[in-house]
């Protein structure tokens, strides 16, 4: 085998492997700075100018406009507390506390970040419209079938993510400081 052939083969393999690795990293990552707390992941650097290259590339590619540090913080859950992927065939209880923030919302999105259509026309729960218990706690039931109380419907039959957004929160600059117990737990109740 002459040197040119070797160089061409190595170059082709390298190009394919390099592009494939970038593609797969950007598909799953939320950046080098991603902090995982329980089932929730926050990308703290998304809202700053000096974000790391992975964070920047993943934001550019998705076209998302992150919250700035001074505005708030977004956390995304791909799984429940046990680590199992969120499934439209299951019923989840989300609660009972949320980190300190002036307002927060809990929404359901598909795997590219858009709300999922559902018959009840509800894509998000606001902290200002929740039914709460006597201690100020709450439970939001995430399920395909209608539930009494705070019900966040699962539309469609695709896997989904839950998004928790904190507005005007003291934690926006320091997601690392959020205690796991301060975030809502995502407990799977039952599955079909």
């Amino acid at each position: 085998m002459d040197a040119l052939t070797k160089a061409l083969v190595a170059g082709a393999i390298g190009l394919a492997a390099g592009l494939w690795s970038s593609e797969s990293v950007l598909r799953v990552t939320s950046g080098l700075d991603a902090r995982t707390i329980g089932a929730w992941t926050a990308s703290v650097d998304a809202g700053v100018q000096e974000a790391d290259p992975y964070t920047r590339a993943s934001i550019e590619r998705s076209g998302e406009i992150p919250l700035a540090l001074g505005e708030g913080l977004q956390l995304v859950a791909h799984t429940d507390d046990s680590g199992a992927a969120l499934s439209p065939r299951c019923v989840y209880r989300v609660g009972s506390r949320a980190p300190a923030a002036r307002y927060w919302t809990l929404g359901l999105v598909d795997r590219v970040g858009f709300p999922v259509d559902n018959a009840a026309k509800r894509a998000v729960f606001r902290s200002s419209e929740l039914l709460r218990d006597e201690k100020g706690g709450f439970v939001i039931t995430v399920s395909a079938d209608a539930r009494a109380g705070n019900w966040l419907p699962i539309g469609g039959s695709q896997r989904f993510y839950l998004v928790l957004r904190l507005y005007d929160s003291p934690f926006s600059a320091t997601a690392a400081a959020i205690d796991k117990d301060a975030l809502p737990r995502i407990v799977r109740e039952s599955c079909r």
Partner: protein, 196 residues
């Protein structure tokens, strides 16, 4: 039958290719990650640019399953934006800031970075008012001012000529969304006339 030398030769060739391939892969990976922000033609700025001219206030549709422009938008939050180009001079940004509900302004470069943000809590007299300018333009403005009457302006240095200002307004209930949207429509972005 192959001689031991030719087998050895083949192993050596494959090892060279594997090492060369791995090195190339590493280089391609790093370069491709770094150039995505420079060449992403479908980033947020490009998507917003398609919606209208610079300095115009444009409301984004409420996040829903049907409006798939910008992902991870909050259906509880109304959003409007304006693009700017500081080559036309500094930009005056004003917007109403209601006293009890959350609203915010964030300032973005055309390359996906956020260089400033403030919420209604930092707005004086129920009004956001800021001047966005390049470093050079700000120095020119400062040199024209007298030291006895320092300006009360909120001045923000934009690291790039082009970018956009985004206003978010929170709605406390679904029925209040139209009001939040009306507030975001109050965002005004105007090039500041150069003072002589």
């Amino acid at each position: 039958m192959k001689s031991p030398t030719s087998t050895l030769r083949l192993v050596f060739d494959l090892a060279t290719i594997a090492i060369g391939g791995a090195l190339t892969a590493g280089l391609v990976h790093i370069v491709s990650i770094l150039i995505v922000p420079l060449y992403a033609s479908n980033d947020a700025f490009a998507r917003l640019s398609a919606l209208g001219p610079i300095n115009a206030t444009i409301a984004l549709p409420q996040a829903s399953a049907d409006s798939r422009l910008i992902p991870f938008g909050d259906p509880a939050v109304a959003v409007a934006f304006c693009r700017y180009d500081l080559r036309n001079g500094p930009l005056r940004v004003t917007a109403p800031a209601a006293r009890y509900e959350y609203s915010s302004l964030s300032f973005h470069t055309n390359r996906g970075g956020i260089f400033y943000a403030l919420t209604d809590r930092a707005a004086a007299q129920g009004q956001f008012d800021a001047l966005v300018a390049t470093d050079e333009q700000l120095r020119a403005i400062a040199s024209r001012e007298s030291e006895d009457e320092p300006s009360q302006d909120l001045r923000i240095v934009s690291p790039t000529y082009e970018g956009f200002v985004m206003m978010r307004a929170f709605s406390e209930a679904p029925s209040l969304y139209p009001l939040a949207q009306a507030r975001t429509r109050g965002l005004k972005c105007q090039p500041e006339a150069p003072q002589s």
